[in-house]
């Protein structure tokens, strides 16, 4: 496989921030547009309920550190969320200025302005609570696990986080598109959480037996292992060199930002049309692929990518093949040279419409790289073995108020319970689960 044809400078430019941080004047201008709504829709629409009008007003009145505190108090991953949240359907989608002026306040960029300010100055806003003598173990150091850890430390509980990888942060560190969140940014954001006195154990995968011993040795356990591998297609040729899983492809971009060492084809096919597919496709283009085609078995209207992601893909020059289903991959000496598709169509009306292949419509698209972006699967090898944990179609079942699983003392949140939402949902799960664990510990008595 080949590496990028682009120069280091070109690559760095391609992976620079999608939206550079505001200058002071830009931030002040944008902040001055906010109406300071009462019971603000943006705050309600934010899954972590950041007090948006409050932090925007703090920016407006030159209290940027105070703004950062407002944000981080509700969402300790406020910096990542500012960069990667689908704001279009969250806070900004709810902003009343859509209805007044046809455009929302750019809440995400203001949030980034404030959180970057705090990060650049190494400001710290929170202190650990008074020691309660209680111990909680957390499995997984993604946004759900670490948000829970932070909140538990604020409440004074002892926290140990177990992480199978050699870096903390979960998908924030290795999965989010590199022009949104860099590895350095992710790790810098985590630093204050660790400084709260979180005992982080890297390279420590937890298996079912370890879950049992953690439950025995701790007052509660929080499960935040996210999701696993992307779905397999189970098609001929899938094992060939050049056929990639989206997550593997994206992960190589996060390693030290050495884009020149990344593997990239010249003619790339991405299968699927969700946000991960767009992330993979745009990053393939930015790495120097000459042609990138997203192939999706349904139509444009059925894509699960957000509009702004789709627009980014189109403006980056990604091409789209709608209503095509992959049949297999062809290759030479076990290296992929093409993907075979059959055309599909919808039969029937409305919701009942069924997707069916069109007879004799097979065709092959030449390519030297295929990226499968089909959504992640649950971590079955662990979850199926933990006693007493029930699941709904793979997702760990929890009580929606308490975050407790069907196993007493074992709590869960994040992607492993939602089957894949956003960073901000994982953060909220972690925070709320911590509060629930706190109540649970209270009710256990000493």
């Amino acid at each position: 496989m080949q590496s990028s044809p682009l120069t280091t400078d070109q690559l760095q430019a391609n992976f620079a921030d999608l939206h550079p941080n505001y200058t002071r004047d830009e931030a002040a201008f944008e902040a001055s547009r906010c109406l300071f709504c009462y019971d603000a829709p943006c705050t309600r629409a934010c899954p972590t309920h950041i007090d948006v009008p409050r932090f925007i007003r703090q920016i407006l009145h030159d209290n940027v550190g105070g703004a950062a505190k407002t944000i981080l108090d509700a969402n300790i991953f406020g910096g990542s969320c500012a960069r990667a949240c689908p704001t279009e359907v969250l806070c900004e989608g709810a902003c009343v200025d859509n209805a007044r002026a046809g455009a929302p306040i750019e809440i995400g960029r203001l949030q980034r302005y404030a959180t970057d300010y705090a990060m650049e100055r190494n400001l710290r806003f929170f202190a650990p609570g008074k020691d309660t003598g209680r111990k909680v173990a957390i499995i997984g150091s993604g946004p759900a696990g670490l948000s829970c850890a932070h909140e538990l430390r604020r409440l004074g509980h002892k926290v140990t986080v177990f992480e199978s990888r050699d870096v903390p942060g979960g998908l924030n560190t290795f999965g989010i598109a590199a022009y949104k969140i860099t590895r350095e940014m992710s790790l810098a954001e985590i630093q204050p959480i660790l400084e709260m006195g979180v005992d982080l154990k890297l390279n420590t995968p937890v298996d079912a037996a370890k879950v049992e011993s953690l439950l025995a040795d701790n007052d509660a356990v929080f499960l935040a292992i996210g999701l696993g591998q992307t779905q397999r297609l189970k098609l001929p040729g899938e094992h060939m060199e050049g056929v990639w899983e989206a997550l593997e492809f994206i992960e190589q971009l996060h390693d030290k930002r050495e884009f020149e060492k990344c593997t990239i084809g010249r003619n790339v096919i991405v299968i699927g049309c969700g946000n991960t597919a767009i992330d993979a496709a745009t990053q393939a283009i930015r790495l120097g692929a000459e042609k990138v085609t997203i192939a999706y078995r349904r139509g444009e209207d059925a894509k699960s990518a957000y509009n702004y992601e789709y627009d980014l893909g189109k403006s980056d020059g990604v091409q789209f093949e709608w209503y095509v289903q992959p049949m297999g991959f062809v290759g030479l000496n076990d290296r992929v040279t093409g993907a075979t598709f059959v055309r599909t169509q919808l039969q029937g009306e409305g919701r009942k419409a069924e997707l069916v292949p069109i007879a004799d419509s097979e065709f092959t698209i030449e390519c030297d790289m295929v990226i499968k972006a089909l959504g992640q699967t649950p971590v079955d090898e662990l979850l199926s073995k933990v006693q007493g944990v029930e699941r709904d179609r793979g997702a760990v079942r929890i009580n929606s108020e308490t975050y407790q699983t069907t196993r007493r003392g074992l709590f869960a949140g994040g992607d492993c319970t939602s089957k894949g939402k956003e960073i901000v949902n994982a953060v909220q799960d972690g925070k709320m689960a911590a509060r629930s664990i706190n109540r649970h510990l209270d009710s256990k008595g000493k």
Binding site: L35, F36, P41, R44, A45, V89, R100, K303, Y306, N307
Partner: protein, 472 residues
Amino acid sequence: MIIPDLSTNCAGIKSPNPFWLASGPPTNTGYQIARAFEAGWGGAVWKTLTHDPILNVSSRYGALDHDGRKVVGFNNIELITDRSLEENLAEIREVKRLFPKHAVIASLMVESKREVWHDAVKRTEDSGCDGLELNFGCPHGMSERGMGSAVGQVPEYAEMITGWVKEVARTPVLVKLTPNITDVRVVGRAAKRGNADGVSLINTINSIMGVDLDTLAPKPQVGGRGSHGGYCGPAVKPIALNMVQSIAADKQIQLPISGIGGIQNWQDAVEHMLLGASSVQVCTAVMHYGFRIVEHLISGMENWMREKGYGKLEDFIGLSVPRVGDWADLDLMYRVVADIDQEKCIHCGLCYSACEEGAHQSIDITTVSEDDYVASLNGNALKAPVVSGGVRAIPGAGDNRVNIFTVNDETCVGCNMCSLVCPVTGCITMVEVDPRGPEPLSWRQYQQKLAAGEMGRLKPIPHAHRPLGNLY
């Protein structure tokens, strides 16, 4: 078709339009004034002349910004002209030669001696200026030398000096009034007694612009110290309007008025004129945006006159003066209540917090689910949801609810507050409802009727029931 005529005659000073530059930095030099006349200004009051040029400090100006808007208020600790009388007079002569139809008014401030004033008036008028403006208003620096507001704050001095000037003046004399006084009419009457031909107001208001939070020095600062400066700019317009109207309505004064203070757009100028001014003067807005704003002033006033059917300025000057009177004569029976147009409402809740926490607890919140809300929108494109990646976002909604705000007509006192804060034009209107009594009744009449036993005490509009206990 009406072709509005903007020419004016203020106290005998004629100009092609009512827009004059106020005495200040924009009128420092003949060069600037010539540029201003080229740009369309009708007149200019020269930066206050005096016998010996003064020395200024550095820095001199400060500004009040408001939530992102620059210079909503402005102040200065600058003095009068820093150029010699000869230099200024030579330039006045040259400007008048180039622009014979434009008004050039010389502002004067000299030592409070009769012969000194006589000399200044004669020499200045020899330059060919169209009128004089006596600066009795500058609130800083000059007053410490017995000039400026030191004169303007003492009616006897103002009358005396105006009298001296009028003894020799051949052109119209305007007296420029200071607002730094309890009742501006008192000095207005003194000017009248001194035979002034007109008054101009307001000069700047005593102020400290702010304090620098790093150095703790006042703003503007001179080597870490500051002084009481003169405040002006958009924020002072209401104060100026109040004083202009009270001079215009005063039976003893009855002098032409040149209105000054906070004028930055044509509406401000029209308001000054509706309250009695026959010319208007502008300083801060020109310092902020330059001479070209006059195009906008002229075109705005022309359009308004055309739409209103006014052919000349006299058709509307002073029309609103009699509409201002004592509170005691207002009709207590008149009643308006707020009305919210639900089609326009964007659910920001500003009216609610304003009324609930800052007024009379007369706006109620109810909530509807997102689905019901969307169903009720019927095609309102601006408020329509956005669907992206299969997820729906609704402006104004969150947590599966939309807040609906409605006014309680029983308790709404019609204070205007909600309509003032509502960000959507025309969304909250104040509508007239049935008056509270069969006939108009002012407080004065009410007191008389009470005393005569013709009626009993009236009840105020009831407050909404908000028990304290709910909070605890």
